[in-house]
Symmetry: C2
Subunit: 205 residues, 2 copies
DNA sequence: GTCTATACTGAGATAGAC
DNA sequence: GTCTATCTCAGTATAGAC
């Protein structure tokens, strides 16, 4: 990868994580990266495609790690289903590790999930991993319908996006524990573990 | 309120709920509402202010209902803390009722929370209500620190935004139960009830 | 293949006539 | 209150230099 392309990616990652996608203009990115505007469209095609490649650059590695960890837990569990806590650990620990080195990327991911902006990338790179995890959850939570597991997985994404994006924001009006990424993730897992294991929603007719 | 202003609000609510805030241009709104572009800036000042008034128009009523319902539950509970399930009911039922009549508004709210776009309105109109609910949760969950309750409340917002926004989206790659608003909300409350009542996150040092 | 310069279209915002 | 004209800035497209 050429230095121009890399400069664009690095600068865009930092600025979009800080300000959001819509609020960050290409002109601001190229100004700070000291490259030409057209170089962005030469290398990426569009602003949206730049975002997609930004995600893809790191998401692939994180998702590979996620699946590997899940596979390890599945081997350890033998014929038994993997416990929900372990499934959550497999899902979040690779992200936490990435976030400890580079919090910007994780915040970026949270923003993208919240804004619903990574349609193509989600399908291409996340969906296979998500599918593996939903399968694991179905085995761990046999009393839930497939639809309810999908709903809870979606709730999980929403909670996660707030966990990583909300770090800078004031904590719902009351003074929170601020920008402690590790603490926030541990609280998130604790919360999700209980939520995922809630009894099934009763059918109403 | 004049008919022009009202036409703008109604049209903007529908379009923004469908397409999102950034994806909806003022020119599209004024075209469908059949008003002049400058009228928007005359009545609202800016696109952002239009959004704020859009939220404010309905959020005030929803928040009033929330607080009233919570107060009723507090009276019923006497000196005991209100159960978490009841706190959640007080928070969500007014929103569900609004959403049953006008799903657009609830989806709009979800989008705004996800994208973090309603800075001024949240502080002015939501924070007092949020504060009341956090206080109720503190009483119901005395083993949790204030910081952890704030975190969980934030997770709740994230899950909620996905619950109401994700209705149209495909359910994480597996076929979901589609756009059933009532079902989605019941699942959400079930999920959140367990998540909020999870044991405290252990301190690590 | 890479990058630059420049122009095009559509966005939100504003000033001033009526 | 309303509308026209205009401003600035956004993302995008293209022609051509190296």
């Amino acid at each position: 990868m050429g230095p121009t392309k890399e400069k664009i990616l690095d600068t865009a990652e930092r600025l979009i994580a800080d300000q959001g996608f819509a609020a960050t203009s290409l002109r601001q990115i190229i100004s700070e990266a000291q490259v030409n505007l057209a170089a962005v469209h030469y290398h990426f095609g569009s602003k949206q495609d730049l975002l997609d490649q930004l995600i893809e650059r790191k998401a692939t590695r994180v998702n590979t790690d996620r699946e590997a960890l899940l596979a390890r837990f599945e081997t350890e569990a033998g014929s038994h289903p993997v416990a929900v806590e372990k499934i959550l650990r497999a899902f979040f620990e690779p992200m936490i590790e990435t976030g400890s080195q580079n919090p910007q990327f994780v915040r970026l991911m949270g923003r993208m999930i919240a804004e619903g902006l990574i349609t193509g990338v989600v399908e291409k790179h996340f969906q296979p991993t998500i599918f593996r995890f939903i399968c694991a959850l179905r085995r761990a939570l046999p009393s839930l319908t497939e639809g309810e597991i999908a709903s809870r997985f979606r709730f999980m994404f929403g909670a996660m996006s707030q966990a990583v994006c909300g770090l800078a924001a004031p904590d719902m009006g009351i003074q929170g524990d601020g920008a402690d990424f590790q603490l926030s993730m541990r609280r998130l897992i604790q919360f999700l573990s209980a939520g995922l294991q809630a009894p099934p929603t009763e059918e109403v007719r």
